[in-house]
């Protein structure tokens, strides 16, 4: 609904999407594209990237939740995203636990320090 706040999108494996949809974030109707993508073994990287970019382009999405292993596949697209809205949050998946060293946001935050700066 317009003016009621933004949506939360999710790009993840089946269980992740099922969980979040149970939480009530899903939107799916004939006129608009869904705000979630269930990634399966045969989903192409191009499709994932296209969906991610389409979520970024939508003005009604506030947060994008994405499994970290999927984020790794489209790392370049995520690193290129510099705006604060929509926010991209990397979440673990069943086979791949969360790894802070791979998170785009934390890598940006970590990269600032060097020995020179502390002199």
């Amino acid at each position: 609904m317009p003016g009621r706040g933004k949506l939360i999108a999710v790009i993840g494996d089946e269980d992740t999407c099922t969980g979040f949809l149970l939480g009530g974030i899903g939107e799916l109707n004939k006129n608009r594209k869904p705000n979630f993508l269930v990634v399966e073994k045969d989903t192409s990287i191009a499709e994932i990237e296209e969906t991610f970019k389409s979520f970024l382009a939508r003005s009604d999405i506030g947060i994008i939740l994405i499994n970290q292993f999927i984020a790794e596949m489209i790392r370049h697209a995520i690193d290129a995203h510099m705006e604060s809205i929509p926010a991209v949050l990397e979440i673990p998946s069943k086979e791949h636990p969360y790894d802070a060293s791979k998170d785009s946001i934390l890598r940006r935050a970590k990269g600032m320090f060097s020995a020179e700066d502390f002199r």
Binding site: I8, T18, G62, L65, S84, I85, A87, I91, P92, A100
Partner: protein, 201 residues
């Protein structure tokens, strides 16, 4: 002035570290909640059957029950606040109180199936919400209903875990944005600190 600068820099650094620590804590909570959710889904799948808990069960039309209010603050940081669609049920209750009468008994059984995504609602007021809900907003269903009328407790537990995850995600998103802004400011201040020194040289 240099001392001032350095003090500010120190403060910023400490703030940055605090924010990182808060993020770490929230992340751990988020990750464990998500894992709990998956376990509950797996248990529900075990009792209901493989195909009963899958993407095949998704409704063909869904309406979001959670929204996130975004606001951009002065420093460029974005703030996210999670809001659940519970208020509408209250409005409907007031509108439909007079409508119901003889229909109550007939509809009583169907109350729970069409309940909106609010678990705390009292049973007595449900028939009133029901008739209005049926006529105007049949899409407002608890996603739990996609999986059947009688769903195992595990699925409900999964739902509550993920609901908490969603609220926490909004907080983490805000924190991430703040961290990036603090980092930028730190970098700017570091540059400021080194540049006047070079000028002296």
């Amino acid at each position: 002035m240099r001392v001032d600068q350095q003090l500010r820099l120190d403060e910023q650094l400490l703030l940055f570290m605090d924010q990182l620590e808060a993020l770490e804590e929230k992340r751990q909570r988020l990750n464990s909640l998500i894992e709990e959710g998956w376990f509950s889904i797996a248990k529900a799948r075990y009792s209901m059957g493989n195909k009963q808990v899958s993407a095949l069960q998704y409704a063909s039309e869904m309406e979001p029950l959670v929204y996130v209010e975004t606001s951009v603050l002065e420093g460029g940081t974005a703030e996210f606040k999670c809001e659940r669609k519970e208020n509408e049920t209250e409005e409907l209750k007031n509108n439909t109180i007079e409508d119901i009468g003889a229909k109550e008994t007939g509809l009583r059984k169907r109350i729970n199936t069409k309940q909106k995504g609010v678990k705390e609602e009292e049973q007595e007021t449900d028939p009133q919400v029901k008739t209005k809900a049926e006529s105007s907003t049949p899409e407002h269903r608890d996603p739990l209903k996609w999986f059947g009328i009688l769903v195992p407790q595990n699925l409900k537990q999964a739902q509550s875990s993920f609901k908490e995850v969603i609220t926490l995600s909004a907080e983490i998103a805000s924190l991430q944005s703040t961290i990036l802004a603090t980092r930028k400011e730190l970098q700017a201040q570091m540059k400021e600190k080194t540049q006047p020194e070079r000028k002296k040289e």
